[in-house]
Amino acid sequence: MPTPPMSPDDLMLLLTLAAALFATGLFGLLVRRGILFQLVSIEVMLSGAALAFVAAGAFHGDAAGQGMYVLVLALAAAEAGLGLGLYLRLRRTVATSDSAGDSDMVSQLKG
């Protein structure tokens, strides 16, 4: 399949979209206090970075964009697994009702 001819304006548009995706994830990370929502926001941020890599790789006709995407994907999967494992552990250890599932739970850890 031949590479589509991508103008620099198209690339800038895609990169701006990727930055907007990252900013949306950042907004979600700052606004939400539930840990599950914060983890989803981090995934959105990572998908923004992935779009930037793949778009740049397509512009230059280089497979390195997709190679970087594979590494970003592995990182996202490891981070999601670890984040959710931590979340479940926190839920089990700190079980009060007013801050259940919040990132405020972390301040109730002993020691």
Partner: protein, 196 residues
């Protein structure tokens, strides 16, 4: 497949990601996240990055969201909790929105495409080493040659990362013993060796 279609898919991904981070219910958030990830996969297909697109569907939208859905089972979904989330969203959204806008502002008002070389000025064969003359530059074969060739060390380091993540999650998931000891009791000894 045109780049315009890729931009349209990217826009759909952006809109559904915005919806995902602003929902009060965790289930709705995950559904919109799924839509966003699949829209990005469509964008990758439109940019002829088929390997990335298929990986996005299989791993990102498939495995990662599935793990999120498992954890969703433990989330509090009573109306009081949803009302609490909605109040929080309505109260303090201004400062995070300003910070997020600051991140994307340089690309919105900045130099634009002025400094980038046109793709027509690129040579036919991309700069990645070891590629044969007939391999399409964005095909899975090209990505495979990159990952097994010059980037093999990076792949090994990534596998260390995944192994570390696996062991850490296994450690987190361990149930502590009921008597409060910090290390779990050793498993009961099996039949003594030497029988075989």
């Amino acid at each position: 497949m045109s780049v315009g279609l890729g931009v349209a898919f990217g826009l759909a991904g952006l809109l559904s990601a915005t919806l995902a981070v602003t929902r009060a219910s965790a289930a709705r958030t995950l559904l919109w996240l799924l839509v966003s990830l699949l829209a990005l996969a469509g964008a990758f297909f439109a940019l002829t990055a088929t390997f990335a697109a298929v990986l996005q569907i299989l791993v990102y939208a498939g495995a990662v969201v599935a793990v999120f859905v498992f954890v969703l089972i433990t989330v509090d979904v009573s109306p009081a909790a949803l009302a609490r989330e909605r109040d929080r969203l309505r109260r303090d959204w201004l400062l995070p929105a300003a910070v997020a806008l600051l991140v994307v502002l340089p690309l919105l008002i900045g130099p634009g495409a002025a400094g980038l070389p046109g793709s027509a000025s690129l040579p036919d064969a991309p700069a990645t080493a070891g590629q044969g003359p007939g391999i399409p530059p964005l095909s899975p074969k090209a990505v495979g040659m990159l990952l097994f060739g010059p980037w093999a060390v990076a792949v090994e380091v990534t596998s260390f990362l995944l192994l570390a993540g696996l062991l850490a999650v296994r450690h987190f998931g361990r149930r502590p013993p009921a008597d409060g000891a910090t290390t779990p009791a050793p498993p009961p000894a099996g039949p003594e060796g030497g029988d075989t």
